[in-house]
């Protein structure tokens, strides 16, 4: 049976960060995380536990946070995938959320950070003005071993405020 799985190969297309990417002749059992990292070389998505508990591998699939270690690559066909590499603007500048993380020391080793950013992006897209408690609840599935979380909460709060400040000034203008 294992011999069979060795010989069977899958080829498919994934839409990642607005680009169509070909995944050619891979084992069908490849996890989405491994497809992103080892096949497409998008190594910003990190694997901290490979059992869906730490949140480091979180990506957005059709706009919702998903543990890429708990989903197969083949299951992600015909869906829109966003990873940390897609957060910067087309010119390569950090997004306001990333800026807020840098400004507020919301990371130390940075290993959990891509998952934090993707989960926070989902939160802010669905709740422009989260309270601190709402931020903590929304990110309660993402573990960080370095920061003690406070600076992450602060940074997300700051990004939300910066976003509404920009919106406000556009509306006034």
């Amino acid at each position: 049976m294992l011999e069979k799985s060795m010989t069977y190969r899958a080829s498919y297309t994934l839409l990642v960060n607005d680009q169509y990417c070909s995944v050619v002749e891979v084992e069908p059992r490849l996890l989405l995380a491994d497809v992103l990292r080892d096949v497409l070389h998008l190594t910003g998505t990190h694997l901290g536990c490979e059992h869906g508990a730490c949140g480091a591998c979180t990506v957005l699939v059709d706009g919702r946070p998903v543990r890429s270690c708990l989903m197969l690559g083949v299951q992600a066909q015909n869906k829109e995938i966003q990873t940390v590499e897609g957060l910067v603007d087309p010119g390569g500048a950090l997004s306001p959320l990333q800026e807020a993380f840098a400004e507020g020391h919301a990371l130390q080793c940075g290993f959990c950070t891509p998952g934090m950013l993707m989960t926070a992006k989902f939160l802010l897209e669905n709740n422009a003005h989260p309270s601190r408690l709402e931020i903590r609840e929304a990110l309660s599935g993402n573990l960080c071993r370095c920061t003690g979380y406070q600076n992450i909460v602060n940074a997300i709060e700051r990004a939300a405020n910066a976003h509404s400040a920009i919106k406000g000034s556009v509306a006034e203008g």
């Binding site: 730490c54 940390v84 959990c112 950013l117 309660s140 600076n151």
Partner: protein
Amino acid sequence: MRRQEDPALLRGAAIFIADLHVPGMVEAVVVRSMYAHARINAIDTAAAAAMPGVVAVITASDLPEGVGPIPMRLSPSPELVHALQYPLARDRVRYVGEPIAVIVAQSRYLAEDAASTLRVDYSPLAPITSVESALASDPLFEGLTTNQVYHRHHQKGLGGAAIAAAPRRLKMHFSIQRHTGMPLETRGLLAVPEGERLTVYGPTKVVFFNRRLLSHLLEVPLQHIHYVEVAVGGGFGIRGEFYPEDYLIPFLARRLQIPVRWIEDRIEHFQAANHSREQHHEVEVGFDDMGHVMGLADHIWVDTGAYIRTHGVTVPELTQAMLPGPYDWPALESDLHVVLTNKTPTGTYRGPGRFEGTFVRERLMDSIAATLRLDPLVVRQRNLLQPAQLPYSNGLKALGQEVEFDSGNYPAALLRASTLMEREAISERKREALHAGRLRGLGFACFVEKSGLGPYEDSRLVLHDDGTVTCFTGLADLGQGTGTMLATIVSRKLGMAMDRIQVVYGDTDRVAEGFGTFASRGTVMGGSAAYLAAAELRRRIVAVLSDEAGSNGADMIMTAVGIRPSEKSMTVSYREVLHRAAAEGLPLDVTERFTATAMTYPYGVHACEVDVCPGTGAVHIVRYGVVYDVGRAINLDMVRDQIMGGVAQGIGGAMFEQLVYDDAGQLQTGTFMDYLIPGMCEVPDIEVVVTEDAPAPSNPIGAKGAGEGGAVGVAPALANAIADAIGAPPEAFTTLPIQTQDVLRWIRLESEHGVRGDEGE
């Protein structure tokens, strides 16, 4: 101030070990013992070797004869040598997770398929899963007569005899559970053979030491081994030590002459990487009616696991040496017992020995106060060392050095913590909470930390003609921001923008030597070396530009285009400066060494206010404060970052994290689903007050280490706060982690038998 490290990390562009791919690379999976204690009769590798994609299968018999065991890096002692670990188990396994074979295949998926077909014939032996059973069992190693592999006695003054003469005595038993660092990135290595040379990616913490060790174990000349550190996802003591895999993966790459990568998975990490902290203390303290302590005696029992690893007995010795803390004990006596069991071996974890000892001592202080019905802060103030008593030695040794507290004002730190937490109004807050159906409590814990372990660290600074400076350091970076710290020091001394300073570390082709990043030594040792190098570079530049600079060049700055030696002079281009320096034979490439013969001791106070739900025993942290004196802070934000992160880990150790073994020696909490790392809803906002009352007298920047003090005082501050909330008796909350059911038990005992202490006493 932003950190240099962050832009790449935020883009997902930083390279961690699992992000590296090289052509032709194969992947290794380590096969590990399923038994806690067993004899290996035979290993049949044939089926595994025949699996698709398998390149090699090795067991101990495939390793060169005479290799290993892995020696100790710190705190070595001759009796420990019998219990050192070989890279692969030979005829006996002693813990679940011990490496017995390595399978190399075209992918990790295929290697894991093959691992499931490896046939090992075991004869199970009786597992030892506690200190008690270890002492009653045959020794686990030949050459040992007992599983108590190490013992150290210490006495100061009359020792335990002083307790007998004291008017009041307390005897208590404390337990600290097994738990560990658990960085979010697991370990990993990539070894790439290049002719005679071997490049190893993935080492960290003590890169230069490990390289020497690998050279020794592989019997390969040092210059043939190139170590390269990449981005590291947290260390906390356990990561970066030389483990069996640090030999096995480079060995395989050389043997097979192809690049071999090994990425540890999380389940493996739980069984393979160092555990820490498990200790039992049998303490007796003598004191008078005023709460003055007269003597302390302690039997410290350490469950060190199945082998002695690179840390030797560092954690036990630090426990014993730092147990007395910031108090003036007239008499001390302690016996350290280090015992082997069939569990994963242990090593250091952030605040090794201090997390454990601080819990014992600071809970004891509150117990003395509760016994005497005195204010626990008054009892502490009556016993704290006064500034005039420093430097002060408690007569004990740790890490080969006598513990001598160098500078500090411990009573002032305690006062500051009391003010921070608005202790004067706690009675009112207790009444309000009670009104709302909750029990409010406030607890404190004093601590002294150690930092800045020598012997020395070098720093090399090179000025380039494009106006940038490269700083070479022997430190490592496990996420602390070592680069930012060094760039800050160099930038300030040179008068140059930080973004023009590039820090190079962890590459043994580019840096000659270093002792690494551990024991809160980075800033003290590497930072001081960088400061000395920057001062010398500055002195040379001023000398070269003496015509323009005037006598001292005190207001010299280094801009994007050149150096302006003084406010009134013209800017001289970097090319011109380097040209003149070369002509004068004064190279602008300097190396300076900072040497330290003694450690430096930061200190502080943890304080915690909790609400306890009387119906469920649930504990809610209302406020958490830390006062921490770092001597001089190089980057205040980064000091605060360290404290906040440390507190989060301390909360894990105080309330949640536990490596539980069953009687068969199987790890029961081996995933993130049952080993509970505190998340965003468990860790409160933390109020950090960094003070600079007592600069380190022994280094030019006055710095003391900031890495570990955040973790060490959490458990007693929490325990004391909970005990205060429910009016628990002196003997309560001596076992970690403090769980809801323990809290509930003491609440019920109090309501059945006790009379709650008078509020506000």
